[in-house]
């Protein structure tokens, strides 16, 4: 339901809820569009599947030209913005918040946010849903302290955020994937879980 990213690394849970029912616990909310872009979806899963289908066709159209050039992350971000804004203007929105993580043609990292009303911006740290309340401050602090962190450090920050989110969000699941777009490789990990420590919950007294 919520997910977050920082330059180059992006993570999303694998839960598809039906209201407060944890209905589908192993869905893919990260999609590798092409070697320069991974997108993550929050919101209505059917609408996200529709967008994934359109993006898949775009990648095929790029491949078929045969010159090895694919749409980069800023291009995909802008395209999504156009589609989402137009739909909202017609009072028929795609009920999603999408994060576009990747790199541009020059190889520089790119991270963008688009939502169902067509708001779109580029930032170093981005989050959706619960993540924007809990994880975003944590990520911003980590970025302020260490602006040039590498992939492994970024992944560690994301895992820390996910652990706190699992603690604090009642409608969450401790299962997520992390995707990385770097100069070398673009890939999405297998689902994993964060280590949690519930020992303080054993003997509560008062509000502690």
């Amino acid at each position: 339901k919520q997910w977050y990213q920082r330059r180059v690394a992006i993570t999303a849970g694998t839960l598809g809820s039906y209201g407060s029912l944890a209905r589908f616990r192993d869905i893919q909310r990260l999609m590798k569009v092409n070697d320069s872009t991974i997108i993550g979806g929050f919101g209505d899963y059917a609408d996200f599947q529709f967008l994934m289908k359109l993006l898949r066709q775009q990648t095929i159209d790029d491949e078929v030209v045969g010159d090895g050039v694919y749409r980069d992350a800023p291009a995909i971000h802008n395209w999504l913005r156009c589609v989402l804004y137009n739909r909202r203007t017609k009072f028929n929105p795609l009920w999603n918040t999408i994060v576009v993580a990747g790199k541009n043609y020059g190889g520089e990292p790119y991270l963008g946010y688009v939502d169902k009303i067509g708001v779109a911006f580029e930032e170093k740290t981005v989050a959706t849903g619960f993540g924007s309340y809990i994880a975003l401050p944590m990520m911003r602090k980590a970025m302020d302290e260490n602006p040039d962190m590498g992939v492994e450090e970024a992944k560690a920050v994301l895992k820390r955020c996910l652990r706190v989110l699992f603690y604090r969000d009642c409608r969450s699941l401790n299962r997520f994937q992390i995707g990385v777009v770097s100069a070398g490789e673009t890939s999405i990990s297998e689902p994993m879980s964060a280590d949690t420590d519930w020992s303080i919950g054993a003997n509560p007294s008062g509000y502690e």
């Binding site: 289908k53 066709q57 095929i60 491949e63 078929v64 045969g66």
Partner: protein, 268 residues
């Protein structure tokens, strides 16, 4: 006698390959059951540079003899091997602009199939649809047939390699090895010598290059560019232009084979 009647003259024509009077449109049959417009379209294919495709044990290899009529042309332009969707490769012979129209239609069919069925279009289905489309242009008086033969190939883990050809009449046929264009007779002879089902794509790339070089007519068409592409296990089922190192190796093999055969002729 000196003169012949009109009836006798017409019966002369029946025997020849000139369809005078019955070749104005694709909407007409000739008295001996031929549609001349389609046959003329096939002639357009026969006049183009050779295109061959071979189905190996783990994929399909395409080779095109792209005849270059001017040194001013940029290299690598006017590509005659095209991808339809990412899992099907094609090579075209004949009129290039007609070919582009057919490939565009094939891509639309593939997109439509994927949209409806959520799976990549199987080669056979694509050829059925495309064959039907090409055939459409052979039955109306107001349209002319496509002057193109297109060779299409695919490979996947489950079904292995597949190769099909669609000719201007709209008929789609499956092949193990296929040749169209100028040197098709010679090329077919060479292809028949290969034991295709046992050779892998890597080996076939070299053989295909060798065949193209050997059927190329140095006298009539001075310069040509060899286009090689493949689709198979080595490419993960995706249609790609053969990478530079394999391409150079294949060209070297082809040139050496050509020199050897020249030497053999001199020895005699």
């Amino acid at each position: 006698r000196v003169a012949i009647t009109a009836g006798e003259y017409k019966s002369y024509l029946r025997m020849s390959s000139i369809g005078t009077g019955y070749d104005f449109s694709a909407g007409q049959f000739s008295p001996d059951g031929r549609v001349f417009q389609v046959e003329y379209a096939q002639k357009a294919v026969e006049n183009s540079g050779s295109v061959i495709a071979v189905r190996g044990s783990d994929g399909v290899v395409f080779g095109v003899e792209k005849i270059i009529t001017s040194q001013l042309y940029e290299q690598g332009n006017n590509r005659r091997v095209q991808s339809v969707d990412d899992h099907i490769g094609g090579a075209v012979a004949g009129m290039l602009s007609d070919a582009r129209a057919i490939v565009a239609r094939a891509r639309e069919e593939a997109t439509d199939y994927r949209d409806v069925y959520q799976v990549p279009i199987p080669l056979k289905m694509l050829c059925e649809r495309l064959g039907h489309y090409v055939h459409l242009y052979t039955v109306y008086g107001g349209l002319r047939p496509f002057g193109v033969s297109i060779l299409l190939g695919s490979w996947d883990e489950l079904n292995g390699a597949k190769l099909m050809e669609i000719d201007p009449s709209g008929s789609a046929r499956g092949y193990y090895g296929c040749a169209v264009g100028k040197g098709k007779q010679n090329a077919k002879t060479e292809i028949e010598k290969l034991d295709m089902t046992k050779l892998t794509c890597r080996e076939l790339i070299k053989e295909v290059a060798k065949i193209i070089y050997s059927v190329h007519d140095e006298v009539k068409d001075k310069h040509f560019e060899l286009e090689l592409s493949w689709i198979g296990k080595d490419t993960g089922g995706k249609h790609q232009i053969v990478p530079k190192d394999l391409y150079d190796e294949a060209v070297k093999y082809a040139e050496e084979a050509l020199n050897d055969s020249d030497d053999e002729d001199n020895v005699m």
